[in-house]
């Protein structure tokens, strides 16, 4: 649900403004309103014009944060207690931030250069041994040019052709030495008289082989480069370790002070920005903001304790503020909280509308379970979710995914029992598991009916929620949505009556009511209403995907089971069946997730969801990233 908010106004003597803001920051509950929402005509507080100081603090904070990120300095477990920074402390932190940032940048550049060089040396290392042994032969010849070539494994036939071409053109005045590499390639050292060196390039091009390119900065030839590269190969790890030690030393020496600086400067910056969100006269100031209903007394108490009557907190009547301006904070029961991960993938709902999380918490695992619908696959998913749950941190997104997975597994097992499926028809064959609801393999139309019926229920629920959400702001739209829901239900009644699943006598009244409701909805919502109604009917049919994916899942499981008898050897058949079940399980988890998401985002949310809410960000103290609310 969306937490109800209360708008409050702070009024007080202007001289108390900085202290009042500090008290508000200590309370950490007030989301300050933008100046546009304040009483018009009131000038901003003078300190708000202190843009220069704000820019200085922003630069300082950027330096400190960048230095800490470069050093990968660990954040403290909780916000460090920081006193109000004076000018001297800020100047010290500014110098420290700049100095550590520059040093950290130098260390980072050095590490990157060393890692790049290490990768280059590693790339050439496989040639070293081969060419080093070949180079020994080179010293037997005077005034020769050397060519270093590597033949790919598929070019092994080129060696004989190259040797023949060289013999023909150079009249045997060359030496071609070959050394196989562990990778299947062949290293070649070609030694020719310096006088014929120019013709060799053409010959190598004709033979479609290329010289090993020389790494820059290690000499002009591979003969010069090899010893240098080998030397660097031994030196680089020590240099990397030295850079790492230097970084660790910087973290140990300056990490805690930088963390304190980040917290203090962040808080100071927030306070200065908050002053910009106030308005003042010669003697008084005013600020407005929102806080969760029920917390205003705590803030009022803190202000009263510090300022007595000099700073007052008053509640702004609900009729004086618009829902669109209020910030949004979602708070759901523990059971539904993991499903906020799904809701948060879209922009926040606007204040005053409906948080769909509880509905997602019911329907998402239900749709997933209907599509998976197998005890065996459900238990496998439960095991995976349990492992993920054990390996993740409370409050993290992977933990929420594990909990959503657990709910989906529960529904998968429940519908598996209802459909009598355990790895397809294995349960039936092994221990006589029979469907309690219907057999998905044979009763496809019954499954289709169930899927579409769920679609009707889901869409009608969405339309009703849409009507509730817009009843105050857009009453005509609310009425139109209710009428749409009624028309959908009447169409269902008419179809069932025509198919004689309901008494046939209902057909005529339902049809007449549809004919009456149709012009009414056009009057209420305009000419687009019939188009939207047909879109809604299309959305309901879209729920047929539950049947389609569910049927495909059970059919694939049955095919996997049939492989045991179809492969000749039982062992091979069992292995293929297991592999096929594994593939089906992967598909059975992935596809239902995507399609259940789509049914929610497109079909369900489309009927009522109203995105565009402002995130609730109260003025508070700096907190380590892991403590910040998502």
């Amino acid at each position: 649900m969306i937490v109800p908010m209360t708008k409050v106004r702070l009024l007080g003597a202007r001289k108390h403004l900085p202290e009042a803001i500090r008290t508000v920051q200590d309370a950490g509950v007030l989301h300050l309103a933008q100046p546009a929402a304040l009483a018009p005509g009131l000038p901003s507080a003078p300190a708000a014009t202190d843009h220069r100081r704000i820019r200085q603090l922003e630069r300082l904070l950027a330096d400190v944060q960048f230095a800490r990120s470069l050093l990968a300095a660990p954040s403290p477990l909780r916000s460090p207690p920081v006193a109000l920074p004076d000018v001297h402390a800020l100047a010290v932190w500014a110098r420290l931030g700049r100095r550590v940032r520059r040093r950290a940048e130098t260390l980072r550049d050095r590490r990157l250069a060393l890692e790049e060089e290490q990768a280059l040396v590693a790339r050439y290392q496989r040639f070293f041994k081969a060419f080093a042994s070949l180079e020994l032969a080179r010293h037997r010849f005077a005034d020769v040019s050397a060519y270093h070539v590597v033949l790919r494994p598929d070019q092994s036939g080129q060696l004989a052709r190259l040797r023949a071409a060289l013999a023909e053109r150079l009249d045997n005045t060359f030496e071609l030495l070959a050394e196989p590499l562990p990778t299947g390639e062949t290293a070649l050292l070609l030694l020719v008289p310096a006088s014929v060196a120019r013709r060799i390039d053409e010959l190598l091009a004709e033979a479609n082989v290329q010289e090993v390119p020389m790494p820059a900065g290690y000499g002009g030839t591979l003969a010069e480069a090899i010893p240098r590269l080998l030397r660097r190969h031994d030196e680089i790890p020590a240099e990397l370790a030295s850079a790492q030690r230097e970084r660790a030393d910087l973290v140990a020496r300056h990490g805690p002070e930088l963390a304190r600086a980040e917290a203090a400067v962040h808080d100071e910056l927030e306070r200065r920005r908050a002053i910009g969100l106030s308005a003042s006269t010669m003697h008084a100031f005013v600020m407005e903001g929102w806080l969760p209903s029920g917390t205003e007394s705590a803030l009022a108490g803190a202000l009263d304790q510090q300022f007595h009557d000099a700073v007052m907190l008053e509640t702004v009547g609900r009729e004086h503020w618009r829902s669109d301006d209020a910030p949004v904070v979602l708070r759901n029961p523990r059971l539904f909280r993991p499903f906020e991960t799904i809701t948060r993938m879209l922009p926040l709902p606007r204040y005053g509308t409906i948080d769909p999380t509880p509905f997602v918490g019911v329907f998402f695992p239900m749709f997933f379970g209907l599509m998976l619908g197998d005890v065996g696959y459900g238990l496998a998913l439960a095991a995976l979710s349990a492992v993920l749950h054990l390996k993740t941190r409370p409050g993290s997104t992977p933990r929420a995914v594990a909990e959503v997975g657990g709910a989906c597994a529960l529904f998968g097992v429940a519908f598996g029992v209802a459909f009598g499926e355990f790895f397809g028809d294995l349960g039936r064959r092994w221990f006589g598991l029979e469907p309690l609801l219907f057999d998905r393999e044979h009763e496809v139309l019954a499954f289709l009916g169930l899927a579409v019926a769920l679609g009707v229920a889901h869409i009608v629920l969405g339309l009703v929620l849409g009507a509730i959400a817009s009843r105050h702001t857009h009453p005509r739209t609310a009425l139109g949505r209710l009428l749409s829901a009624a028309i959908v239900l009447l169409i269902v009644v008419a179809i069932l009556a025509a198919m004689e699943r309901l008494p046939h006598a209902l057909l005529m009244p339902a049809t007449v009511l549809i004919l009456i409701a149709f012009p009414a909805i056009v009057i209420l919502e305009g000419i687009v209403a019939p188009i939207e109604l047909f879109t809604t009917l299309g959305h309901i049919l879209s729920y047929a995907r539950i049947m389609a994916l569910g049927t495909a899942s059970v059919m694939l499981a049955i095919v996997a089971n049939q492989m045991v008898g179809a492969m000749g050897s039982v062992t091979v058949g069992v292995l293929f069946a297991l592999l096929f079940h594994l593939v089906n399980f992967a598909l059975g988890v992935f596809s239902p997730s995507i399609h259940a998401l789509r049914l929610h985002y497109v079909e369900f949310f489309g009927t009522f969801y109203s995105p565009g809410g402002t995130k609730y960000q109260p003025l508070g103290h700096w907190s380590p990233p892991r403590e910040r609310p998502a």
Binding site: H442, V444, S542, R545, A548, T551, R598, Y601
Partner: protein, 76 residues
Amino acid sequence: MESFWVALSAALAVAIPALATAWAQSRIGPAAAASLAEKPELSTTAIIMIAIPETMVILGFVVAVIIMLRGGGGAG
């Protein structure tokens, strides 16, 4: 002979929308991937965009099942 036409109709009811879905997704997929490279926060929109054309083949599958059941070519 009738069962041949029933089977062919059912096959076409799936095959033609499947081709259409494949064509649509072949256009949407690269565009979504390119968008995600620049704006990872668009992942939800990308998922929705990629999943939207699948409605065609799913409804095709439903029609094929109905053809098979009404035409007597399948279990039911």
